[in-house]
Symmetry: C2
Subunit: 312 residues, 2 copies
């Protein structure tokens, strides 16, 4: 299967606990590896869960609270020590390179790779990356400081041609490309073979949305509509809704409302307050509004399977 | 027992592995808690091993390679979030406050405690802290950049008076202080009771030396003479002695030579290269030269017991 796979490295909020690391995740879209946030210890977690971290070329930092980026300088240093030469793209607040400047300078000439900084736009939705496999969009969240969520949308794969039909109708190679694009095929005797007969339906493009840290945004579902997987913070339980509002965080119930309104397939909640030793009751709370909810845990891997487009 | 206890939080060198964290240790001397180096993830390790980290008021940073201080900013942030108000003393290279300046400024007004920076002297031995329980000395090591080791020497405790003797000789309270200081006691009839009879011998002051990162220093034992516990880096095995020299690190053999020449009681080796999955053979190598050697591991606790001075 062509992968679309998320690995959770940290599920805690600002205060770490003995079990929960700070926010960091790796998304593998068709063998492209994207690191989303990089809390302290992220590189150690990547080692622990055998993430191919040297293959990460793009890092996305949602905002500049330490629990979302303090692991970055250690990772950049490790890349230096490992002799990395590939460009590294970092999408973050424009202040971040300034904040890390003196530490980066201290690394000095040893650094053999280029860091390319991409400042995020915290005012409006924006496409920040696109290649043949995936399009990545940032969008503003509502936090105490400028903060972005990220939407990863797989690009459509071509339809698969049925190999047995190539032989049956003696289709020349030059036609295959056009059939994949949707054309019918006309036999020498003028008979038309419909594209539908020659191909398998394409796979549905898969979608993942990462939403932390944020207060409840009732309109967020307009951006996250139809995602296969939604990661939404659930720092608090619903009894602390006022506290959530005051600190610009969400409750498990609110995360579930976003999933429900997005018509998402699955919801993963995380960024749990250190006050909660166990989070099962947060999952229960969310399931009242959106059944397919699970709690993130360190080392959790979520694979989003490919599904063919259903033909009516 | 009055504690003199070391907790090891990280035993790796520059590259972390799935099992080894970066250098950090906590020394508890009679309920004073000293953090020695603060690699990435130190605060998480402290949670894991139930270190009373809010009671740390003094932090010692040997040098400015990232694996020895990248965990500091996260710890300072956590102190802020926990509402710390106690002064925090940090003993480090004078560049460190400059390096962390922008990150500290970003923390802004939230910080309710004072950080007092103490620049280390990398040219000569220096007393950097002293109170009634402990004296702490920094001394230069030999590394690619300015680097200090630290020697923690317990101050002498008073002799313990034998309570039964107070009753036997009807000793007035005002004399007890003087007897503890070593005086004899003269009875009303002129008979002299020797101090030795009235007191238990004092405890030997305990000593711990922390030596990382460093090339082999044949004269280091002059500073670390007579320590109860020596922590000495052993990044490499003796077959890589040239590599150790070139990178200003030590081999297990060299660590053992320092322990032997110091007439130390125990040696703990650490700061292991990521090339070593197991380190038993490094311990074996060291034991050829200094038998009482162990390998550090994450969560290791070493208690140095009190011993009374032996009277001849």
């Amino acid at each position: 299967m062509i992968p679309f796979e998320l690995t959770i490295l940290g599920t805690g909020s600002a205060l770490p606990t003995s079990k929960r690391y700070h926010t960091a995740q790796v998304l593998n879209v068709r063998e492209r590896f994207f690191l989303i946030d990089c809390g302290e210890g992220a590189q150690i977690q990547m080692r622990k869960y055998s993430v191919k971290f040297s293959r990460i070329n793009h890092i996305f930092i949602s905002h500049l609270h330490g629990d979302h980026y303090f692991g970055l300088i250690g990772l950049l240093t490790t890349y230096t020590l490992l002799g990395r030469t590939n460009d590294l793209h970092i999408y973050a607040h424009s202040e971040l390179p300034k904040i890390l400047k003196s530490q980066l300078e201290y690394m000095g000439d040893d650094i053999q790779y280029q860091i390319i900084w991409h400042p995020l736009n915290f005012k409006k939705e924006q496409t920040i990356f696109e290649d043949e496999a995936v399009k990545i969009t940032s969008f503003p969240l509502k936090h105490r400081m400028a903060c972005c969520g990220f939407l990863f949308t797989e690009n459509e794969l071509e339809q698969n041609i049925r190999k047995e039909k190539i032989d049956e109708y003696d289709i020349p190679v030059k036609m295959i490309y056009r059939i994949k694009k949707g054309e019918n095929y006309t036999l020498p005797d003028g008979k038309i073979i419909l594209n539908k007969e020659l191909t398998l339906p394409a796979f549905q493009p898969r979608k993942y949305a990462f939403c932390t840290d944020t207060a409840y945004l009732p309109d967020l579902h307009k951006i996250t509509a139809g995602v296969d997987l939604l990661y939404h913070e659930a720092t608090f339980d619903k009894s602390l809704e006022n506290k959530a509002e005051g600190t610009y965080h969400s409750t498990a119930r609110q995360a579930a409302l976003v999933a429900r309104d997005s018509n998402a397939q699955r919801l993963i909640i995380g960024h749990f307050s250190s006050r909660y030793k166990e989070v099962d009751f947060l999952v229960d709370e969310a399931r009242e509004y959106f059944n397919n909810t699970e709690a993130a845990y360190e080392g959790m891997i979520i694979q989003i399977p490919q599904k063919r487009v259903t033909i009516e």
